[in-house]
């Protein structure tokens, strides 16, 4: 079972929901918000190993290279240039696809592993913790997300903390999820971004439910939309200065009994849907 936690808008409490739920359900947690991974702050895992995430990057053998320029024309990301004297490779534009290597007519291209980020693996409480982190000035999060997903043990349960928004990085993280938990907040911004996120999840045919974070007297904004779209609101985490303070100190909110109860309900609703199969899809 893979539960993806996402939010159209950043800062709505996606990581709060992911980490608290993972801790309470005692299931593995994976942080795929690789640009800003924050799950470690709340779960305080014991990191057992840190692995490099690499992508294959071309290296040109100038002895063999005939400067024909086929590689330059093949590359869709403009990572290669023919100066007439040699082929220059701009690593930070390379997606590691291998097209240039395949295209080179004289076999002058080999590939080496270039580090673009790292993956930490550890444990918290009784479950496993995975987290990816992109190196600064590296523009591509995609390969890190894919790499981490490949290293996750098959047939184990996971909470997947996605990056905010609805970009292709979110799609990569969502790929293969059994349930999408949408975290939002009661504001027009929250609603606007929630709509986009719901549209994306629907397109991918993943069952979904909404959690309203920082719930207050304006919840009806989200409730109206949920009703129209026939999506269940499976939890509300009330706004309190105390919760905000706990968060700022890197503490889990389930230390508070009232909030813990809320998370118990979220858990039951998620498990209901996942066990029953895809009944949420037929609702849509």
């Amino acid at each position: 079972m893979k539960i993806a936690v996402l939010s159209g808008k950043g800062g709505t409490g996606k990581t709060t929901v992911s980490t608290n739920l993972a801790y309470m359900m005692n299931i593995n947690y994976v942080d795929l918000d690789v640009e800003e991974p924050n799950g470690h702050i709340f779960l305080k895992p014991q990191i057992e190993s840190v692995k490099d995430v690499v992508i294959p990057t071309p290296k040109i053998d100038s002895e063999k290279c005939t400067l024909c320029g086929t590689c330059v024309n093949t590359c869709q990301f403009n990572a290669l240039v023919n100066t007439g004297k040699k082929i220059l490779v701009f690593e930070d534009l390379c997606h590691g696809c291998g097209a240039c290597t395949l295209a080179c007519p004289v076999g002058a291209i080999t590939e080496y592993d270039r580090k673009i980020g790292d993956m930490s693996i550890g444990t918290f409480d009784k479950a496993k913790f995975y987290s990816g982190k992109m190196l600064l000035n590296e523009p591509m999060a995609g390969p890190i997300i894919t790499d981490i997903k490949k290293s996750l043990p098959k047939d184990e349960d996971f909470i997947v903390d996605c990056s905010p928004g609805t970009s292709c990085n979110v799609v990569k993280a969502l790929d293969g999820a059994d349930y999408a938990l949408m975290v939002t907040e009661p504001s027009k911004f929250g609603l606007h971004d929630l709509k986009l996120a719901v549209e994306l999840v629907r397109e991918l045919n993943i069952p979904l439910g909404i959690v309203i974070n920082r719930a207050n007297e304006y919840d009806h904004l989200i409730e109206g939309f949920a009703k129209e779209e026939n999506v269940d609101i499976i939890g509300k985490i009330p706004f309190s200065k105390e919760a905000a303070k706990m968060y700022s100190e890197g503490r889990l909110l389930i230390e508070n009994d009232e909030i813990r109860e809320m998370f118990e309900m979220i858990k039951i609703s998620v498990l209901d849907v996942v066990k029953e199969g895809n009944h949420a899809i037929s609702n849509s």
Binding site: F77, N78, A79, N82, T83, G84, K85, L88, L93
Partner: protein, 122 residues
């Protein structure tokens, strides 16, 4: 000698462009024939690596030097590696810049980073 300028339009009356990779046109001046020609920049619409694509395109035009506002680090490296010289333009038309170039009034672009700084403070 063939001289290439980044420009906002396609003729000698056009204003020059401070940008290199995302400039709309390149106007080329040939000092042997005293003629101007122009090409549309094939790099400006690229999703990633516009400067690199534009640089490759410029190299294919068979020119000896480039006059523009500033070169990014990648473009600078490419232009230098290909043995082309880069000169800094100022605001004006293609013709005015060429005139200044003939009178040795243009400064050679030597360091990509410093040029970016200049651009940032304009």
């Amino acid at each position: 000698m063939r001289i290439l300028l980044s420009a906002q339009g396609d003729n000698k009356e056009s204003l020059v462009d401070q940008r290199f990779g995302r400039a709309a046109y390149y106007v080329i001046y040939d000092d042997q024939t005293n003629e101007y020609s122009s090409v549309e920049n094939q790099g400006k619409l690229e999703n990633s690596g516009a400067g690199v694509k534009a640089s490759q395109f410029v190299l294919e035009q068979g020119v000896d030097c480039v006059i523009t506002g500033s070169l990014g680090p990648k473009s600078f490296m490419i232009i230098q590696d290909a043995g082309l010289k880069g000169y800094k333009n100022f605001e004006g038309t293609v013709e005015e810049i060429i005139e200044a170039f003939k009178n040795n009034k243009l400064v050679e672009l030597t360091n990509a980073g410093a040029e970016q700084k200049l651009r940032g403070r304009r």
